[in-house]
Symmetry: C2
Subunit: 291 residues, 2 copies
């Protein structure tokens, strides 16, 4: 059993991007510039955005953090996005989700220029990804592909079972794994809350991507020997024994599933650790396409 | 075993659209207007486009057929598309595929305004479809959904196996069947040329969509009793006994598979018969969104 070490791979990706950014600067070109919009004071969102801004600094990227109070109107937010779309100095734009109820996430995402949509949530990016055109792949599925690539995990002809059909993880990774690419060509089954016989389906899987958001849902009896298990879940579960009062749990019951696997991602330090690296890779791509 | 009669359902859809178009006209609004571009003299393309134009006439739609010689440059074609995008009188634009080698189909599709892309091939439409936003669904998968709907075939919780991952059929129908909609909520497995044990996978299927383009590929030993079989294939197979010198064959070996099925589409007269009706439905939607 080998751990798919998201921290290690993320570090490798980031070092590569830092080197490339150094080269850009030496050539007199401007470094990638990410603009992040944060609305309100949600704790998790604050943490994520801070981490993204910090990573920009590490890599030598430029970053701009734009904050709005919870009460901001949809119009004000959309207006700011349009300004950033027009701003030639900005390569990538992200709006940290979730947003307050008065603001349509759909409108926000559709308003971000597809060329600057480094989160890969814009319909035009999703559509291009599906058609095999160059596109920004959403950070979490992109992170999974980078892990598979780094560890040279064979996907061709394998049966991948994806549990969860969200727009940001389950759906795109199910598509990416079945495409005709070096990290694709799987037979892919996508499962969700209406799936019957989920256990039987999982037992056929060479690769399982658990992305349903239920802590420790995938248990050893659902996994065949030698499987590759990718755990996308990350839920705070109360744990009095921990300093913070909670433990982070994935969608996989790691202790019992891990011994059966050829490869497995831990939580934390697996897929989650990859997402910011993937976002930084998209931001770099956005910058060189505009340079 | 019941035949899913594409001709009958298409007729029902078209009658409904004709009535709605009559109402538009009575209200003094303009009828839907489809502009079709045909390049060169490919026999099958000529037939398809003629049939689309004729159906427009039947329904009281306006149609414009624009023809180019095979030698047309990419620029000329794109310029015409841009004109049609700007033309307020035109609701839907389709460019009949395939195109000659000097013209990029990708560029052509990306140039059609997403609001007028009644074929549903534009990345922004595909992306919106995936995110569950209002979008034009490509005609063939849309036709399949209309068939399932008409015959009230339960999809929720069923295991659907889609054979083929093309951008215009296999991929979108695999997504649509797994979405949280009245004709979705299937567990969906998408299979393709790299799939191993295809027979075993098909034998698990409650619903099979055969969209690989190999005549009579799906045989009785691959289908479980009571399955629903949707045959998307349509290939001309030489047949000296036929007046035209060929017979139309689907991807399903109908004679042996049909007796095992609860429902099956014939070829011709199944999915193929639905596609123009689905295109007309998209064109009507385009028109009322612009009225």
């Amino acid at each position: 059993m080998q751990i798919l070490d998201g921290k290690l791979v993320a570090q490798t990706v980031k070092e590569d991007l830092k080197q490339k950014t150094d080269i850009l600067k030496r050539e007199g070109k401007k470094p990638p510039h990410l603009a992040a919009i944060l609305v309100g004071h949600n704790g998790a969102s604050e943490t994520y955005v801070a981490s993204k801004v910090r990573t920009c600094e590490e890599l030598g990227y430029q970053s701009t953090l734009i904050r709005f109070e919870t009460e901001v109107t949809e119009d004000e937010l959309l207006q700011k996005i349009r300004e950033l779309n027009q701003d030639d100095g900005v390569d990538g734009i992200l709006v940290q989700l979730p947003l307050p109820a008065q603001i349509s996430e759909e409108k926000v995402i559709n308003t971000i220029s597809a060329q600057k949509d480094v989160d890969g949530f814009h319909p035009a990016n999703i559509g291009k990804m599906i058609q095999g055109q160059p596109a920004y792949i959403p950070a979490t599925p992109y992170g999974i592909l980078l892990l598979l690539e780094y560890y040279k995990i064979e996907t061709k002809g394998k049966h991948a079972v994806v549990i969860g059909r969200s727009n940001i993880v389950g759906r795109p990774i199910s598509i990416l794994l079945s495409q005709n690419t070096p990290t694709g060509n799987c037979t892919v089954t996508i499962c969700h809350s209406h799936t019957r016989n989920l256990k039987d389906i999982c037992l056929q899987a060479d690769i399982i991507v658990a992305a349903l958001g239920k802590p420790e849902f995938l248990t050893a009896d659902m996994v065949k020997d030698g499987a590759v298990v990718i755990d996308v879940g990350i839920t705070r579960v109360p744990d009095a024994g921990k300093k913070k009062g909670y433990a982070l749990k994935g969608d996989v019951h790691f202790e019992t599933v891990a011994p059966k696997c050829n490869y497995i991602t831990p939580v934390p330090g697996g897929v989650g650790a990859m997402t910011i690296a993937a976002l930084m890779k998209n931001t770099y791509l956005a910058a060189i396409q505009r340079n």
